[in-house]
């Protein structure tokens, strides 16, 4: 029982990363119709940003958590203005290919600078663990889970309870109608992209103290996250987050009972979902 709960907790923690990345992908896709392949690379850049800040300026985790997402969000807005915007009038596949190219370039640039070895990051806060009766929770992991849940909730509230959210949702679901009401949807595109990128970078900084920081960390993760958003329904914020946590749990528990299937379980689940609901669990049927 204890090992079950322990694994479930670990699953929720890795689900936090899936959820944060899937959330950013969903928000970006909803507004721009861009499936950002570079999302994994941006997560990796976030983790390396934390390492670089510690190495060069001696700045600790909290500074990294503040500065790195901001800096990458700015870089993301530049990316959207300079490159992605040029392709939005064409088939969405072109932007998928563009961001794939960007991901490859980022990954190899980092490998050139740091090599293939993992970089140590020992400035994470909350060392040790806490005893909550069931088993020992590593305190940092509890923190990651809390941040992730809080952020997902905040974004959800932002989208459902505020005027900005209403505009973004309207622009996502009925772009023509929204424009007909005199709302300049184009104005929101760049900030939304920057916001999504910032989320990926933040996930990267959170990952730095507990994961191996290396140039391959984003590439493998992004493909799992793609499967997550296919399951949840691409463009559905709620579906993406829920699927993110579920897949994290599924992999961790799979690790406990059927280790062979642990890595592939997410793709098996994706196959089942495609069979039953091709648009994803919470997605709307559309053709993009």
């Amino acid at each position: 029982m204890t090992s079950f709960l322990q694994q479930a907790f670990n699953g929720l923690v890795s689900g936090s990363f899936y959820a944060l990345l899937a959330l950013g992908l969903a928000v970006i896709f909803g507004m721009l119709r861009v499936v950002n392949f570079a999302h994994g690379a941006l997560y990796m850049l976030g983790a390396f940003g934390a390492v670089a800040l510690a190495d060069s300026a001696g700045l600790g985790f909290w500074w990294a958590l503040l500065l790195v997402p901001l800096a990458l969000a700015v870089a993301g807005t530049l990316l959207e203005r300079l490159l992605i915007r040029r392709l939005t009038a064409l088939d969405p596949l072109y932007n998928f290919l563009l961001t794939f190219g960007i991901a490859l370039v980022c990954q190899d640039l980092l490998r050139m600078k740091y090599g293939a070895q993992s970089q140590p990051y020992e400035r994470g806060p909350f060392p040790g663990s806490m005893d909550l009766g069931l088993f020992d929770f590593p305190r940092y992991q509890v923190f990651v889970l809390a941040v992730s849940v809080a952020l997902c909730l905040a974004v959800w509230l932002l989208l459902t309870r505020t005027r900005i959210g209403t505009i973004v949702r309207a622009a996502t679901e009925r772009p023509e109608l929204t424009r007909a009401f005199g709302i300049d949807t184009g104005r929101w595109v760049t900030p939304v992209f920057g916001f999504g990128v910032g989320l990926a970078a933040l996930a990267g900084v959170l990952a730095a103290p507990m994961r191996a920081v290396n140039s391959g960390m984003g590439g493998d993760l992004i493909i799992t996250v793609f499967a997550v958003v296919v399951i949840g329904g691409l463009g559905s914020v709620f579906g993406s987050v829920l699927a993110g946590f579920t897949i994290g749990m599924l992999q961790a528990l799979g690790n406990l009972y059927v280790p062979v299937l642990s890595q592939t379980s997410v793709y098996l689940l994706m196959a089942v979902v495609l069979l039953v609901r091709p648009a994803g669990l919470f997605g709307k049927e559309e053709h993009a």
Binding site: A89, L90, F100, G101, D108, R179, F226
Partner: protein
């Protein structure tokens, strides 16, 4: 100069076609004289892979981002057959291709339920599943070490010389290319183009669109498997790299660089990328993704027609027949929901 020559010939498309075919064959036969033979064989393999991929992307409008699954699974299966059976390598490669086609049936069955960007993501995810299986099934695939010591068996011929092996591999590739050409120019090819351009209308005409997509997906996987099997026999090993997602990306780069939907352009794209990577690795530069990625960004932003597409476009605009002048299909083939939100 070449353009001028082609222009003079433009009234005779058949002449151009035969001329190009002869030139292509001459290049194919002469390749290992001008290039290090193993690299020449690599160009053959990647060229066939890229043509097989363009059959799917350019002619059926389906961007698979998981074609490494077929190239790679065939590399492993061909290798296993060659190691354990001692049969001629042709049999091994054919067996590998058949395995790739078998694998494509379930993957394609799920993938064709979605189109466009979703199709890309679903194929990518399933390919990654194949990667994990290859990684974990170490007893068979060698796991991290890969499958080593794949022989090049052919009774009566000593294939240890790479120069000789090139000519043993060439017929397989030419047959594969001929098959791709035949399919595109067959009634079946017309139907898949119709499904690509307007699947609703094709369905209304009574064609089972998803079934056609699945068939072309499987055929493309089979041809990719032929290429992947040859590649493994050429190198004497199959590694996890063959099933990794960067391999899927590489074949997309080759096709886009050559020109989507041009079929033969893919050969040029493959040749260019293989040469470039070979040149870089011999000069000690290992971050080939930097170059492939860079090529990707430039081509997608500035050069979407690709090499062959640009050439054909230039010729056609000189011939002032605007009806024939069309952009790669990707820029046409979108419905209302894929319209950009920003303006």
């Amino acid at each position: 100069m070449i353009l001028g020559l082609l222009e003079k010939l433009h009234g005779r498309p058949a002449l151009i076609r035969w001329g190009l075919l002869t030139a292509g064959l001459l290049v194919a036969i002469g390749l290992p004289w001008g290039l290090y033979p193993p690299v020449a064989t690599d160009i053959l393999c990647w060229g066939l892979f890229a043509v097989a991929f363009d059959l799917l992307l350019g002619h059926a409008g389906l961007l698979s981002f998981g074609h490494a699954a077929f190239w790679g699974s065939s590399a492993y299966v061909s290798g296993l057959i060659a190691i354990h059976s001692g049969l001629p390598f042709y049999v091994a490669v054919l067996g590998g291709a058949a395995a790739a086609a078998l694998l494509a049936l379930p993957i394609g069955f799920f993938a064709v339920r979605r189109s466009g960007i979703y199709f890309a993501m679903v194929t990518l995810a399933f390919a990654q599943m194949v990667y994990f299986i290859a990684n974990q099934w170490g007893d068979v695939t060698g796991g991290e070490n890969g499958l080593q010591g794949i022989p090049r068996d052919l009774p009566g011929v000593d294939l240890s010389d790479s120069f000789v092996f090139y000519y043993a591999a060439l017929p397989v590739v030419l047959l594969g290319l001929a098959a791709a050409w035949r399919i595109v120019h067959s009634p079946f090819g017309r139907v898949i183009a119709a499904v690509r351009d307007n699947s609703a209308r094709a369905r209304a005409l009574g064609y089972a669109a998803d079934r056609y997509k699945l068939v072309v997906f499987t055929v493309s996987a089979f041809l990719s498997g032929l290429a992947g099997g040859l590649y493994a026999v050429n190198h004497g090993f199959a590694s996890l790299q063959e099933v990794y997602w960067t391999t899927s990306g590489k074949v997309v780069v080759m096709t886009v660089l050559g020109g989507i939907g041009t079929l033969w352009g893919s050969l040029l794209g493959a040749g260019a990328i293989v040469r470039l990577e070979d040149w870089l690795s011999t000069s000690g530069f290992e971050e080939t993704g930097l170059v492939t990625g860079g090529v990707f960004i430039v081509v997608v932003l500035l050069f979407r027609r690709g090499v062959w597409g640009t050439l054909a476009h230039t010729l056609r605009s000189r011939r002032q027949s605007p009806a024939l002048d069309r952009e790669p299909h990707l820029e046409h083939d979108h419905d209302d929901s894929s319209q950009p939100v920003s303006s």
